[in-house]
Amino acid sequence: MFKEVSRKNAVHVMLVYSGGCNGCDIEVVNCVLSPYYDIEQYKVMLTWNPREADILLVTGPVLKRIEPALKKIYESIPDPKLVAAVGSCAINGNVFFNLGGDLGPSEEVAGPLDKVLPVAAKIPGCPPRPEDIISAAASAIPILAEMEV
């Protein structure tokens, strides 16, 4: 009952830092906490509890040390769920994954986010502007609303 309407009207996002530089994280927190952007007016609320979340925002290139925790958190989110990759780190690994001197690129990176989790939305930028994050969240909501389950 009211499946689509309710999903469109209340969305909880959870933010996980997977080892980027913090720039993206602060911009996401900025969207939520700063009254200047105030993502709650678009019916998106921030939560820290995977059981409550619908959308998982991941920033950073997913380091090997954090990968198991990230997977566990993804599993804890009840269906339907979406993953959004915030920032170039999560999308393609940025400098940590692609660049290297004599010793090659960093070995700590478990790969960009899509190697680890199915990614539904990608928000490019290093870091993306808060406006981009908000519009991405807004465009992910209809996908979420139409998902089965």
Partner: protein, 337 residues
């Protein structure tokens, strides 16, 4: 005929509580948002729509030693809490149970509080101990024998919270009792006159003191800021309800909303003398119910203003605050004598 009335009134009150409870959650959030100089979510989003959304998610088994008991806690508590509302309505006064007393109501309130302790000890969220991360390795300090989950710590804090922070509301509930010289809800209500000729206890000096103390106790009962140490976001994330997800979280949200409504309604009954009457036969009856519901909005609005300006009180501050207001309550009691 009496039975029909009885059933109708019980059902109507239940529906009103289930509808307005979640709306209160939204109103609280909206007012806070306005104080924080932002637009904030639409009023129905944090409560009603969220609950419907959670109900439409796929159910799962929580990490808990007793999953079904853990999931059953909120619905059971909702029913228990609703009993308070029913007991204050005139239809239930006449029952040969003699339960419509404030002593019984206080007893039921204890149930709601203890429920959180059970909830905390039954939950095993992934966020603390079971997080897959190698921290107990060679060379790491391991002094303690138990690794406790956030929820376990939350249960411990709830026990302390129940012992200290619920004094104010109990004292406040008994101020009308002393004024009316009876523990029966009926007598307290009738003492304040009929609906068209009201002399609310609130407008007497002891009644006013009682109302202030009731308000503080109300916030403490709701575990809202600033009395949220047992569920403090700063260290326990959310405390006992961490593992609720999907429909169970929807139920938990309802529980919070309904509990807010029931306590507000009890306030209106005791301090304004307007019980939740369901009587659609006369204009007076209808307006009494409308008035009752309108007045229940008062406390949530005040709470949201307080909680927007209050940091979490740790036990260091909680003891003096709680005892201070208890002392004020006792003073009110003395005045009422």
């Amino acid at each position: 005929m009496d039975y029909v009335n009885f059933i109708i009134s019980t059902v109507v009150l239940t529906v009103v509580a289930l509808f307005f409870g979640p709306v209160f959650l939204g109103i609280e959030r909206k007012i806070q948002a306005r104080i924080q100089q932002r637009i904030g979510p639409p009023i129905l989003t944090p409560g009603t729509w969220s609950i419907l959304k959670f109900w439409n998610k796929k159910p799962f088994t929580p990490n808990s030693p007793m999953p079904s008991l853990y999931h059953a806690l909120p619905p059971v508590t909702i029913v228990v809490v609703l009993v308070i509302l029913w007991l204050t309505s005139p239809e239930w006064w006449g029952l040969p149970l003699s339960l419509a007393t404030l002593v019984a109501i206080v007893g039921i309130m204890k149930f709601e509080e203890v429920m959180y302790v059970v909830m905390g000890s039954l939950s095993r969220s992934i966020l603390s101990v079971t997080m897959p991360y190698g921290d107990v390795v060679k060379g790491a300090v391991t002094k303690a024998t138990i690794r406790r989950f956030f929820e376990g710590q939350s249960a411990v804090r709830f026990i302390k919270h129940i012992t200290i922070a619920s004094f104010p509301i109990y004292i406040a509930i008994f101020i009308p009792v002393v004024i009316a010289r009876s523990i029966f809800v009926q007598d307290v209500v009738l003492y304040q006159g009929s609906f068209l000729d009201l002399h609310p206890i609130l407008f007497t000096v002891p009644g006013f003191v009682g109302a202030i103390v009731y308000f503080v106790g109300y916030v403490a009962q709701l575990n809202d800021y600033p009395f949220t140490i047992a569920k403090a976001k700063g260290d326990l994330v959310e405390g006992a309800p961490l593992e609720y997800g999907a429909h169970a979280r929807g139920n938990y949200y309802i529980l919070r909303g309904v509990w807010m409504f029931v306590l507000s309604s009890l306030f209106v009954t005791l301090f304004f003398g307007i019980p939740p009457v369901v009587d659609f036969s006369s204009m007076v009856g209808v307006s009494q119910l409308v008035m009752h519901v309108l007045l229940t909005f008062m406390l949530p609005v005040l709470v949201s203003v307080l909680s927007a300006f209050g940091p979490i009180l740790t036990f260091k501050q909680l003891y003096p605050v709680s005892f201070g207001f208890t002392a004020i309550g006792v003073f009110g009691l003395l005045l009422a004598l």
